[in-house]
């Protein structure tokens, strides 16, 4: 980043240095010129020939091209000092021109002579031009430009015998596509196959001869030919002579090297005049010191006769002494002349022949008042005659060479925007053709000529590098394939005038279905390009998009779910701000590495949102649910001793734990500590308070504390709410009947009071901290409320909304195994199903499937499924088993013994015994006994539960323990759980076979 910028600074710097250097250090006398050039012998004659009367006073846009091609002898006039600007070019002329531009006159002449030699004397051509023309046609036929038949037609002495519509008429007007085809071939341009984007961007491409298309593409790609300006190429149209001149000029980068001409640029930094009269005539020599664009000195000598003795002779009609004139053609300000048109400071382009003679010199501007910039036009305001442009590069000459293009292509950010005034009669050219200001489309690159701070010339520039089309980049503001456009938001946008959205650039799709689209380096549809994406787009010559490569700019944001509605979710971001985000079925929700539905999102979930966010809209692209939710592990009540502000520990006394809606004394006696979590919140009287304030004012107060699981098995306080100890605390176990979230209160089914809640109320649902709006009717709730002595209102301190344990236990059967299909299924002869406290017998066989999840418990514990077989010593056939089933799948098979009918007991867990626990409180070996209080024994005759003394039961290795339809380990039974147990006998002790955790 830094390096790039530095590079650019230095580049601009060096350009600046170059510019200033030109003038500050005029060539010292001692500087050895890199090259010395002179004029040509017949400059005056040449000038006379090409100073066409019909061109001179016209305002043709091809003036420079006509003079240049004329001066170089590529295109000649009609000989009567007229050029024939709008004359259409004939086929034979076009073929001749196609060969002349590559310097093949000699070949044509040889061919012509051979043809003529073969002719009978009577048929020999008298007219040299006709004869040469034959030669060009012969060459064209030899080299495949025209067919042999066409040649025959062309050489047919009697052209009237030809068949119109079929034959080749040499004197007919040449079509644009023919000229393009022929020139492309003589210029040896590589035909462009397959990639017909450019040509297809013209609406009339189908009219073109398919064989010629690759060559026309090549001409287009090299910017030698263009469309006719209205979106068409007009392949069968004619070409005027002025157009031909321009086409040739457009190809000069290819033609000049072939003709061994060299085009150079420089600035005239010194002119020296010397006069020699030694020959009688006065010969003036002007020596021009030109600082070439490469920084080297070029000297050009021009000598001409200034006849001191005969002033009536003017230069043009004068006949100078042969050898005395060494002048050259100069084109300046729309006029043609000789060296004396030049003045100091002129910036010139000069074409040099191998013999070091100047063949043509074009004055592009004068340094003194003119500067050139390559700029991207952002917007034009015709009412104010201003245009907003992004300057890409300051130029020395109105010309972009490949170095310039490279510099522009690689320049990143940091370009300067400016608003320029343009002249009302500024010359505008797009692709070499005259255009009007309204044809200037944003994002085209132009070379602007700025004279006296006013834009006088606007010439479209082609940033095409090595044949690639124009590439633009930006961030998508809007993509509308239906209406066929895409709008990019550029990095500029100075916001000076909000009504001019000059930061936006719109591009069209000609055919949205025919565009190559990649997103994130994968093939995509055009609809996949969204606002906010970074895109690179390839544009064809008509500035239409034909290829898009995009990457999304999605951002991750972390949030907590507040509530979920069918088409939106309300979330709270980390910084505490809340937002409602639209969601639909397309949003993927991932939880525990699985794709789940939106309905799996729970209030209070921590989620990661993948967002596509722009300043206009926000859309959710994906949701990941945290797989470590840090659930609320416990809710405590305790008297605050103080908060240790170094370690952030709450120091508490008289700690009690909320267990099934009741406060139970905590295990640890005396003072205990609990660390405040990362985002802890402290409340007193529903207002947030700070540690400092708590230590000052709230010591010895009772607080409710919701603690979250922490790493390493610990817990951390998430919310601490202080209660007013003067209020009466009541414990309620009920079901929500209604919740008025707007009024912050809810009602209960059994209890008739309304309960209010506030920010300090600890509301827990599905073990997550939630807000009041998550309380919904029919939720079963444990509520700890405080009654205000003055108002009598009940303020909820804790609302614990818990999914109650499903009392419908899993389906349990028992039966005797009849057959086992190893690892697949087993069958029982007949079976009983446990319903309530009864085993209902069904006298039919039943088959259970064995899945990978099926557990087989024997008196030794879990055994491998593969050992559950029906053969050998350890065959299970004939064994009676309990089967816990999920539909036809066996979840658990236990060999626990049969018990008597109705041998049920129930009670509340006092303690588990027999297991061993590690330092961290985790069981290392499973408990083997359980003690129940408030116990009851089922009286099978009267079908009632009879009170009993405390019951102590053994948990066997093949006892089935079920909680929430799931099989659990003995260690997962909690103190105070209510158990229903099927056991060995009807007494208070013995082995438990089936243990169902009810609540």
């Amino acid at each position: 980043m830094t390096h790039k910028k530095q590079k650019k600074v230095s580049l601009l710097l060096s350009i600046a240095l170059m510019l200033t250097g030109v003038f500050s250090s005029a060539a010292s006398e001692k500087e050895v010129p890199e090259a010395v050039y002179s004029g040509i012998d017949n400059a005056s004659v040449l000038l006379k020939n090409i100073d066409y009367t019909d061109v001179k006073n016209s305002d043709t846009w091809a003036k420079e091209a006509i003079y240049e091609t004329g001066a170089l002898g590529i295109m000649k006039g009609y000989g009567n000092r007229s050029f024939g600007l709008t004359q259409p070019v004939t086929k034979e002329q076009a073929i001749a021109a196609a060969y002349r531009i590559v310097g093949r006159e000699a070949d044509a002449q040889k061919a012509a002579e051979a043809l003529d030699n073969a002719r009978a004397a009577a048929n020999k051509k008298k007219n040299a031009i006709n004869m040469w023309s034959d030669g060009y046609l012969q060459l064209a036929a030899n080299e495949g430009l025209i067919t042999k038949q066409a040649l025959t037609d062309a050489l047919n002495a009697d052209q009237t015998t030809l068949i119109p519509g079929t034959s080749f008429y040499r004197s007919n007007r040449a079509q644009r596509q023919e000229i393009g085809d022929w020139m492309a071939k003589t210029l040896k341009l590589d035909p462009v196959y397959g990639q017909d984007n450019i040509f297809n961007s013209f609406n009339d491409w189908s009219m073109a001869d398919p064989i010629k298309i690759p060559y026309l593409e090549a001409m287009l790609k090299n910017n030698i030919m263009n469309g006719t300006g209205n979106g068409s190429f007009n392949p069968t149209g004619t070409v005027t002579r002025e157009q031909t001149a321009q086409i040739i000029k457009n190809a000069e980068n290819i033609i000049l090297p072939i003709l061994k001409y060299d085009k150079k640029m420089g600035t005239i930094e010194d002119i020296k005049k010397s006069v020699d009269s030694s020959m009688g005539d006065k010969i003036t020599t002007n020596t021009y010191n030109i600082r070439n664009s490469n920084g080297k000195l070029h000297k050009v000598d021009a000598q001409y006769l200034t006849d001191a003795f005969d002033n009536s002779k003017n230069e043009q009609v004068g006949t100078p002494v042969p050898g005395a004139e060494k002048d050259f053609i100069v084109y300046k300000d729309g006029k043609i002349g000789k060296n004396d048109l030049l003045s100091l400071g002129d910036r010139v382009e000069y074409i040099v022949a191998p013999d070091n003679t100047i063949r043509f010199m074009n004055v592009v501007s004068s340094v003194n008042d003119t500067k050139y910039v390559a700029a991207q036009v952002n917007s034009v305001d015709p009412s104010k005659l201003t245009m907003n442009v992004t300057t890409l590069l300051n130029l020395d000459y109105p010309n972009l060479d490949s170095t310039n293009k490279g510099n522009i292509a690689n320049s990143g950010s940091g370009l300067i925007d400016s608003t320029l005034r343009y002249s009302n009669n500024a010359k505008i050219r797009i692709d070499g053709k005259p255009a009007t200001i309204d044809q200037i489309k944003p994002d085209l690159t132009f070379i602007l000529t700025i004279k006296n701070n006013m834009v006088t010339d606007i010439n479209s520039a082609n940033l095409t590098l090595n044949g690639d089309t124009r590439i633009v980049r930006g961030v998508v503001e809007e993509n509308n394939p239906q209406l066929g456009y895409i709008t990019l938001y550029g990095e500029n946008g100075d916001g000076v005038d909000p009504s001019v959205l000059n930061a936006l650039r719109t591009f069209n799709y000609i055919n949205p279905n025919g565009i190559t689209v990649n997103k994130n380096h994968k093939k995509a549809d055009i609809e996949d390009i969204e606002p906010g994406d970074s895109v690179f787009m390839k544009l064809d010559a008509g500035m239409n998009v034909y290829d898009i490569s995009a990457a999304d700019n999605y951002t991750n944001k972390y949030a907590k779910v507040i509530s979920r509605k069918p088409s939106s979710i309300a979330v709270e971001f980390e910084d505490g701000t809340q937002q409602v985000l639209p969601v639909d079925d397309k949003v993927t929700v991932v939880s525990n590495n699985e794709v789940v539905g939106l309905d799996k999102l729970k209030d209070g979930d921590r989620i990661k949102l993948l967002l596509n966010q722009t300043n206009k809209n926000i859309s959710v692209k994906g949701i990941t649910v945290s797989d470590s939710q840090k659930p609320i592990k416990n809710i405590y009540k305790g008297k605050l001793v103080y908060i240790d502000d170094t370690s952030n520990d709450l120091v508490l006394q008289n700690v009690e734990k909320l267990d099934k809606g009741q406060w139970e004394r905590a295990d640890s006696i005396g003072i205990s500590k609990i660390r405040l979590g990362d985002d802890y919140k402290l409340y007193s009287d529903n207002k947030a308070v700070e540690i400092e304030g708590v230590n000052k004012n709230l010591k010895n107060q009772e607080a409710y504390i919701a603690s979250q699981s922490d790493y390493g098995g610990g817990e951390k306080a998430a919310v601490v709410t202080f209660r007013n100890k003067n209020n009466l605390e009541s414990m309620i176990d009920d079901t929500i009947s209604n919740n008025e979230a707007s009024a912050n209160k809810f009602g209960l089914t059994k209890n008739s009071n309304d309960f209010t809640y506030g920010p300090g109320t600890i509301i827990v649902k599905d073990d997550r901290l939630v807000l009041g709006n998550s309380i919904s009717s029919d939720d079963a709730a444990y509520i700890v409320a405080n009654r205000d002595n003055d108002s009598g209102d009940y303020l909820a301190g804790i609302v614990q909304l818990n999914e109650r344990i499903d009392p419908n236990a899993a389906t349990i059967y028992r039966g005797r195994i009849k057959a086992i299909d190893d690892n697949k299924s087993f069958e029982v002869e007949s079976f009983s199903q446990l319903k309530g406290q009864n085993w209902e017998y069904v006298n039919t066989p039943k088959t259970f499937k064995i899945t990978y999840d099926t557990k087989i418990l024997t008196d030794k514990g879990l055994i491998a499924q593969r050992d559950f077989t029906g053969y050998g010593d350890k065959s299970f056939i004939g064994s009676s088993v309990y089967i816990m089933a999920d539909n036809i799948n066996a979840v658990l098979v236990s060999t626990a013994p049969y018990g008597p009918d109705g041998a049920f007991a129930k009670g509340r867990v006092v303690e588990l015994s027999g297991g061993s626990a590690g330092d961290d409180g985790k069981y290392l070996t499973e408990p083997t006994g359980v003690m129940l209080r408030d116990a009851k024994i089922y009286d099978v005759t009267n079908h009632i539960w009879a009170d009993s003394k405390d019951i102590t039961l053994n948990l066997l290795k093949n006892s089935i323990i079920i909680k929430n339809k799931k099989e659990i380990n003995p260690s997962e039974i909690n103190k105070n759980d209510t158990l229903r147990i099927y056991k060995k006998g009807k007494t208070e002790t013995g082995d438990a076979y089936i243990v169902i955790v009810d609540a």
Partner: protein, 513 residues
């Protein structure tokens, strides 16, 4: 070359002036065996350490110590890791010694690439219950790319390995006889950052355990998988302590608390075993976590006198910056409404984004000798010469890459900055430019269009990471000149982000998602 030279000079400067106490959980202090340590403590080479072992088919938490010895030789680091661990009930234990050789190669863009391999025969013996596991072969490869940004070094790397153990039984009491092998395939990746205000590393390892064991005439084969993710970080927390007595020369002050904290989460999916210890088709998924925290070290910070700001909205920011010695000029003359100059900002930013501390075990002694060399330095900027009050700071801010010059070789030290310029400096300092598209990044500020083109990217990133927020109307006012008060708020938020904000992405957020 030049840059690194200045870095060395600067390092020496910082080494001299920074307080000697350094606690850093730099990369590698938890080893590469899927465990967590209490992190680097200066002057200590043995750390508290915990890891989870899955060889027996059940996750077994092993706790104990890890001793690390590092030596720098040229561009190679040789480090010896010695583990001595046991389970809580002492029924299992592990002893392991690994010597790594790390080659560091500097890339021409300033990044460096490390490649680590095992140096000599690795030694590891584990006893779990009645089984002994002896490491017979260990293929290991680890590579790491470090990208140095002005205020933060980021790194990311990959790890892979294959360990093969022979299983022996110790029940007979005699020499254990090989009865099978266990292969442990390890792949993993890790990410982290190092900077003055804190360091964090997060590593994610995936294990495949495959056991082949003779049980009588039968060969028992089983396989299981385990994922271990851990994050280990060093943080500096700062809190304000009000003085209780009234009759004291200052009202209260800041206390900085520094501590290391490592958390680990694992999930394993292993077969259940029957009473004869034969594997069954029932798979058991276990999930648990571990945590090690060091005892916090407290440091009292300097108390500035900024009574002129009492009640000002930037009072706390300014007090914090003076306490942290990011602002050092005369505190009692701090004018919140004065515009901040580029020179003043340069001075503050190099202190807010202090140079990344080096691993103290790896600071070569040769650098100290370089400090005795006196070198003639040429000022980078024409308008900031050696006699400029801010010469050293501006040179440092430029060379570290926070601030660029203006125009040709000028710095314009007395120019004021705009908010947009300052944000660009912060984001460049953090090296987070890549979080937003280079051109055309869009923010959600109402005045998005008035953000200068060069700053769009930085502002967008700053908004994403919470470094800047709009005003009440949702405007950023990016072209407003920065007052001292605003600059203080920004600088403080920058420090808070480096201290707390960035850590979350490598810790809770990483482990949870």
């Amino acid at each position: 070359m030049k840059r690194s030279f200045y870095m060395i000079i600067f390092l020496i400067l910082t080494l001299i002036c920074i307080e000697p106490m350094k606690v850093m959980a730099t990369e590698g202090y938890s080893g590469y065996e899927g465990g967590i340590s209490s992190g680097e403590v200066a002057g200590k080479t043995t750390y508290e350490y915990q890891e989870v072992n899955f060889l027996s088919g059940q996750p077994v938490v092993l706790k104990g110590s890890l001793t690390i010895k590092k030596a720098l030789k040229g561009n190679a680091v040789s480090s010896t890791y010695t583990y001595d661990l046991a389970s809580i009930d002492k029924s299992s234990n592990l002893k392991r010694t690994l010597i790594y050789n790390t080659l560091i190669s500097k890339k021409d863009n300033g990044q460096s690439v490390e490649e680590t391999s095992l140096n000599s025969k690795p030694v590891e013996t584990i006893k779990i219950g009645n089984n002994n596991y002896t490491l017979t072969s260990y293929d290991f490869s680890r590579t790491n790319l470090t990208d140095m940004k002005p205020a933060v070094n980021y790194y990311a790397g990959n790890i892979s390995g294959r360990k093969i153990y022979s299983i022996g039984s110790s029940s007979s009491g005699s020499a254990s006889q090989s009865s099978g092998t266990i292969t442990l395939d390890i792949t993993g990746k890790f990410y982290g950052y190092d900077q003055y205000w804190g360091t964090t590393e997060v590593e994610e390892l995936n294990y495949i355990v495959q056991s082949e064991k003779k049980n009588g005439a039968k060969v028992e084969k089983w396989g299981g998988s385990a994922d271990v993710t851990y994050s280990t970080s060093t943080t500096k927390q700062i809190r304000y302590v009000e003085n209780k007595p009234n009759e004291i020369s200052f009202g209260g002050g800041y206390v900085q608390t520094q501590s290391n904290s490592s958390i680990l989460e694992y999930t394993s999916n292993l077969p259940a075993f029957d009473p004869s210890n034969a594997p069954s088709d029932n798979m058991v998924t276990s999930k648990d976590s571990l945590k090690i925290e060091t005892f916090p070290v407290q440091t009292r910070l300097k108390v500035p006198n900024i009574s002129q700001l009492k009640g000002h909205w930037a009072e706390n920011d300014v007090r914090m910056l003076y306490s942290l010695e990011v602002l050092t000029d005369n505190d009692s003359s701090f004018n919140p409404d004065q515009y901040m100059t580029r020179a003043e900002f340069a001075k503050a930013i190099i202190l807010a984004g202090k140079e990344v501390p080096q691993d103290s075990a790896l600071i070569s002694k040769t650098t100290t000798s370089a400090s005795t060399k006196k070198t003639q330095t040429v000022p980078t900027f024409n308008d900031v010469t050696q006699d400029n009050l801010y010469y050293n700071q501006i040179e440092s801010a430029f060379k570290r890459g926070f601030l660029n010059g203006k125009g040709e070789s000028n710095f314009n030290p007395n120019d004021y900055l705009t908010l947009a310029e300052a944000i660009t400096v912060f984001i460049r300092g953090l090296g987070l430019e890549d979080m937003a598209p280079e051109s055309g990044a869009v923010t959600t500020f109402k005045d998005n269009d008035s953000i200068p083109g060069y700053a769009k990217n930085a502002v967008s990133v700053a908004q994403q990471i919470g470094l800047v927020k709009g005003d009440d109307k949702g405007n950023l006012n990016p072209n407003a000149k920065l007052t001292n008060a605003k600059a203080a708020a920004l600088l403080n938020r920058f420090i808070v982000y480096m201290r707390d904000g960035i850590r979350k992405d490598y810790r809770d957020k990483y482990l949870g998602f």
